[in-house]
């Protein structure tokens, strides 16, 4: 399993047209000026995977994730992110070479999830990802500016981190 592609629409600094980022396995790097949208790409990935804590995506409420620059409107005011996983090793228990997880959020904050373009719900997505060890609780995403905090975990936090993964 690896991330093959992310399609972003109306999410944070990405306008109301599809922006596609094609990834490859291995080590890939994203760079660019401050404020260009690097962290927002990572936010778009965890958003599609079901992340619901606004603070983790650096907003005060989920609705602030919708692109808010006027003049770019060409479609509905909504945020959409689709993550395409390469699933040729079938680690995600779905019988397809690519697993596409899509999340849409409209301006009322209503969310709709799709698995390979078919409607589903959040807990189904979370379960599938957990089975592939690709879920949100994996400690595999380190937000900007927080890496040293992992070394500052208390001794209980360190124990709990291992306990949670068993």
């Amino acid at each position: 399993v690896h991330v093959k592609k992310v399609e972003i629409f109306g999410f944070k600094s990405f306008g109301f047209k599809n922006t596609t980022v094609n990834f490859e396995p291995g080590l890939v790097s994203i760079s660019g000026p401050n404020g260009s949208g690097k962290s927002n790409i990572l936010d778009a990935i965890i958003f599609a995977m079901g992340e619901n804590k606004p603070k983790v995506m650096r907003v005060d409420k989920l609705r602030s994730l919708i692109h808010d620059i006027e003049g770019n409107r060409r479609g509905p005011r909504m945020a959409r992110s689709s993550v395409h996983f390469d699933n040729s090793d079938r680690k995600i228990p779905v019988d397809s070479d690519t697993v596409e997880i899509t999340r849409e959020m409209d301006e009322n904050g209503e969310n709709t999830y799709y698995l390979n373009k078919k409607p589903t719900n959040r807990s189904h997505i979370l379960d599938l990802l957990d089975m592939a060890n690709a879920g949100l609780g994996q400690l595999n995403a380190v937000q900007q500016g927080t890496v040293t905090r992992i070394s500052e975990f208390t001794s209980e936090e360190k124990r709990k981190t291992i306990e949670d993964l068993i």
Partner: protein
């Protein structure tokens, strides 16, 4: 439950020793604070850089904490291997030699898992298979892909 935890603890501890030593030439390891009462006590994470005494991970320098943290995250892989990692400027406080050490380890580990790294440092960009340049145009983000190693030099936009 106790035995399952101890097996997991040993796996992570062993992996920490391996990765930290390979990366820095020093030693790092975990210690149970109270083996008789594991679930009401904690775990110490001890770090010893070359030519320095051992210290708890909480009282080393900022750059040293970065390396110790990444080693901890990678070692947890032994319990539940993640297929991919999302790292956002984890190398911000590293000096040039340590950035280099970090990117070497990640390059090696990227054979097993995918690493999507946001970084402003050359050492990572040089080793990455693919580089994405993100740039704003009137506040809207655009992404371009660079196949060759020459990263988009960050020009004032």
């Amino acid at each position: 439950k106790r035995q399952t935890f101890l097996d997991a603890f040993d796996k992570v501890d062993k992996e920490i020793r391996l990765i930290f030593n390979k990366m820095t030439g020093g030693n790092a390891w975990l210690e149970l604070q109270n083996e008789d009462d594991i679930f009401n006590s904690g775990i110490s994470y001890l770090i010893q850089f070359p030519n320095k005494p051992k210290r708890e991970s909480t009282s080393i320098s900022g750059g040293e904490k970065t390396l110790a943290a990444i080693v901890f995250v990678l070692a947890l892989q032994k319990l539940k291997p993640s297929p991919f990692y999302l790292f956002d400027e984890v190398d911000a406080h590293l000096d040039a030699p340590n950035s280099e050490k970090l990117s070497k380890i990640l390059e090696e580990r990227s054979k097993e898992s995918q690493f999507i790294m946001v970084s402003l440092k050359d050492s990572v960009v040089q080793k990455a298979k693919l580089i994405y340049g993100v740039y704003p145009k009137n506040g809207v983000s655009h992404v371009v892909t660079y196949k060759d190693k020459r990263a988009p030099s960050v020009k004032a936009s």
